[in-house]
């Protein structure tokens, strides 16, 4: 700045900037402590799923997490019907969220475990996680309560472990950069106090749709004949050209299971990773192993449903709302096969113990 009669010295300016930062941090810290659990601040569709969790928590013992493919494509009724009467019997809720990420899936799974109660019957407690959901939210969601409210240091640490040596520098930097910016906004409490004071109500219409007919969180989509014609064309063109690629598994995928197991109220909660189908799988998909073993010795099955060579019946236009999302009929079909695959895995590896027993 140019000279004037009251121009402060550089020392005074630096001291003023330091005091500004100090007071900002002090007030932000006090507010952060006062706000407490920011997961429960209003955050679009996540708020509705959390209400569903609270409503059903005394009736359910297992939950599925992930992104829109699961939110629209996992039918808890169909899944439970296959496991009914078996040692792995479940009562499941769909807690996947449209546009969800690994970071959000982790937060929701931790919250599910915090709310988990021992089921009165012989049900197993399952935590089913989508293996290939995106690490962070999409860039447009960076300044959004969905990300701001959950990116604390433990989330940043988790995201920083979702990388390996094969990953390019730009992708690594982008991944950790997103997490760090979101964490900065998180600790600056961006939007949190206004959320606390004037939170919008949960979307009653969405809640009703996802809960009616005992859907338990499934947002069922209709078959779209317009998309169907395109999909049939694509299936005919691409079928038979399947390329199997090496899977993307990161240290964070393993460590997440250990973190969830450590925070679980019961020692015998079971964990499952799964990969959900998309129509684009018919030209190329990943070749996942059947299971992984975590650093603390948890063996976790990987139920890979995105395999056109193993499950060709999924790849019919009638099961799809669009290229990436199943319709209601497809959701039921895939959920049944999911449960059958899991049941078969338990047959060979031993059924999970009764939860809380």
């Amino acid at each position: 700045m140019p000279a004037s009669e009251k121009e402060p010295s550089w020392r005074e300016i630096i001291a003023a900037v330091s005091l500004f930062i100090l007071c900002f941090l002090l007030v932000a810290s006090l507010l952060h402590i006062a706000i407490r659990n920011p997961l429960y601040l209003h955050a679009d569709m996540r708020s509705e799923k959390l209400v569903i969790l609270k409503r059903l928590k005394t009736q359910i013992s297992s939950a599925v997490f992930g992104s829109s493919h699961i939110h629209n494509g996992f039918d808890p009724r169909a899944f439970d019907s296959v496991l009914d009467g078996s040692p792995a019997q479940t009562r499941t809720v769909n807690l996947a969220i449209l546009g969800g990420s690994q970071s959000e899936q982790r937060s929701m799974a931790l919250e599910f475990l915090r709310n988990l109660q021992a089921p009165p019957d012989k049900s197993a407690c399952l935590v089913m996680l989508e293996l290939n959901a995106g690490a962070n939210f999409q860039t447009g969601h960076l300044v959004h309560p969905r990300s701001i409210n959950i990116y604390d240091w433990s989330t940043v640490r988790f995201i920083s472990r979702l990388k390996n040596t094969d990953m390019g520098f730009a992708q690594q930097a982008g991944r950790i950069g997103f997490a760090l910016i979101a964490a900065t906004l998180h600790y600056a409490n961006v939007g949190m106090l206004s959320d606390k004071i004037i939170a919008p109500p949960v979307d009653a219409a969405m809640m009703e749709h996802d809960m009616e007919h005992d859907r338990r969180g499934l947002d069922a989509l209709d078959y779209d004949p317009e998309n169907g014609a395109e999909e049939n064309k694509m299936i005919a063109q691409e079928r038979g050209q399947l390329e199997l690629k090496a899977p993307e598994l990161y240290p964070g995928n393993y460590e997440l299971i250990d973190e969830l197991a450590a925070s679980s109220p019961f020692s015998n909660v079971s964990f499952v990773y799964f990969v959900y189908p998309k129509l684009t799988d018919i030209s190329g998909t990943f070749n996942y192993p059947d299971e992984i073993v975590t650093p603390r010795g948890h063996t976790v099955p990987i139920i890979d449903l995105a395999r056109p060579d193993r499950f060709p019946s999924f790849y019919q236009a009638k099961f799809w709302h669009d290229e990436a999302h199943l319709d209601e009929q497809g959701a039921a079909q895939v959920s049944v096969v999911f449960a059958q695959q899991l049941k078969a895995w338990y047959t060979t590896h031993g059924a999970p113990q009764r939860c809380g027993g």
């Binding site: 140019p2 001291a15 005091l19 941090l25 706000i35 939007g191 206004s194």
Partner: protein
């Protein structure tokens, strides 16, 4: 690029750094001109070109006006400037309005006319920069100012980015003299500007944008809400529009001040006005003084015959209404304000105030003025006449409405904020903050920013006045 976006913070940080590191005033003016066109070009580069052409043409018209004292060519050039600016404004802003109105009128007369299917994009801030440019040629024509010698200086005046897209409308006689001489800033100027920017930021984001969803809920589904919820929504909108627009003005004034320029005050506690005339002396002052000087005075202003004065007043207010938006509800809104001023003048004439009636008469005037302003904001906010009519009936307690409610505490927001405004004025809060020593100012500023960012809304909305 809005003042509240992170891109603007980055842009302005770069502008400030380069601007103050330049030593010569000429270079600084070139730099501000470049930055202003970049700022406007971020919306649409084509319209930056249009701004350049309009400004250059007005500069040339003013030069021609000043070169002769003969009335005829002077008139020709000022009319050419008027025609050019009003044609551009009319085409971009009012084309659909006039054509749509003509089609509706023809329909009422059982004639079928097809509305043209062209889609016209409204250049952001067009109403502001055309009015600003018009005031220049008119002032030169009226011999109120000399023409600006340098095209660069005129282009900078007409495109000065802090006030380009939503005002305040700056007069050349106020701004151009500031362009001479190298600028300096005192510590008090910087503190004052920083305080004003934060105040504007809080008004826009923490208040206006946070209450906007409640207003939208009721105005989008008015039939569903109770009478009390509807009245609350009108009060909330009254707060929203003030905080939104005056917040923008505060930020614009602050940004200009950090570059060493002074812009005019645009709001002066308008909801404390004790008459509609007083309200217009306090609300969007740069526009109301513009329409007073260039429309009301041009029509003849105050005349011997009261009816002629009222005609001028009414025409001015109708034009002011139409300036706000190309729709009949804005015209009616302007007309209502004109009619209220005319009634108030008549009332004062027949019942002149007496000292014994103070302060009750003043209090009653304030109450009536505020409620009239609230009532007419309904016209401003409603998308359809049926919504406006329903909300007006609710406000006048004629219709009791549906069953849905708003949180009760929101009803208190209006009175609380009004009281706060009164207290801030009485206590000279702004000067008090700016008189703090630098370390104390930095501490208060840091703490307030921490509070402000925690009060940001879930998603911010564009400034209401950008559409004008």
């Amino acid at each position: 690029m809005l003042f509240v976006e992170s891109q603007f913070f980055l842009f302005f940080a770069i502008v400030l750094t380069i601007y103050w590191s330049l030593r010569s005033n000429n270079l600084r003016k070139w730099f501000i001109l470049f930055a202003s066109y970049y700022f406007y070009g971020c919306w649409d580069w084509r319209f930056a070109g249009m701004l350049f052409v309009l400004s250059t043409a007005d500069w040339l018209f003013a030069r021609q006006i000043s070169r002769t004292e003969r009335q005829r060519p002077r008139k020709v050039y000022v009319f050419a400037s008027l025609a050019m600016n009003l044609t551009v404004l009319g085409f971009f802003k009012y084309f659909h309005f006039f054509v749509g109105s003509a089609v509706s009128l023809a329909g009422a007369m059982h004639l079928h006319l097809d509305e043209p299917t062209i889609r016209i994009i409204l250049p952001v801030g067009i109403s502001f920069f055309t009015f600003q440019s018009l005031s220049y040629t008119i002032d030169v024509y009226r011999h109120e100012i000399p023409p600006v010698a340098s095209l660069r200086d005129y282009l900078m005046f007409s495109s000065f980015f802090p006030q380009l897209v939503a005002g305040p409308i700056v007069r050349p006689k106020y701004f151009v003299p500031q362009m001479a001489g190298t600028k300096t800033l005192s510590l008090d100027d910087v503190k004052g500007a920083m305080y004003l920017f934060l105040l504007g930021y809080i008004k826009k984001l923490c208040i206006a944008d946070n209450i906007s969803p409640f207003v939208d809920q009721v105005f989008n589904h008015p039939a569903a809400y109770t009478g009390f919820a509807s009245i609350t929504a009108v009060w909330l909108y009254t707060i929203q529009i003030f905080c939104d627009f005056s917040g923008y003005s505060d930020m614009a004034i602050a940004v200009a001040a950090l570059l060493g320029y002074k812009l005019v005050l645009n709001f002066d506690a308008p909801y404390l006005a004790t008459s509609i005339q007083d309200f217009w002396r306090r609300w969007h002052i740069s526009l109301s003084s513009w329409i007073r000087d260039y429309i009301y005075i041009s029509l003849g202003g105050r005349m011997k015959f009261r009816l002629l004065t009222y005609r001028n007043l009414m025409l001015t207010m109708l034009a002011g209404g139409l300036w706000h938006g190309a729709a009949w509800n804005f015209v009616i809104w302007g007309g209502a304000h004109g009619a209220a001023q005319f009634l108030h003048q008549e009332f004062k004439l027949h019942f002149p105030p007496r000292p014994s009636q103070e302060p009750w008469r003043k209090l009653a005037s304030w109450f009536l003025t505020l409620n009239f302003v609230c009532l007419t904001w309904i016209l401003f906010r409603s998308d359809t006449f049926s919504t406006a009519w329903l909300m007006i009936k609710r406000y006048l307690l004629i219709d009791h409405g549906g069953t849905q409610t708003l949180p009760l505490w929101l009803a208190a927001a209006g009175p609380v904020l009004l009281l706060q405004q009164l207290m801030m004025r009485r206590s000279n809060f702004g000067p008090w903050i700016c008189n703090l020593s630098l370390p104390r100012f930095a501490m208060v500023y840091g703490a307030t920013w921490a509070l402000a960012v925690s009060l940001l809304p879930l998603g911010y909305r564009p400034f209401i006045y950008f559409q004008f």
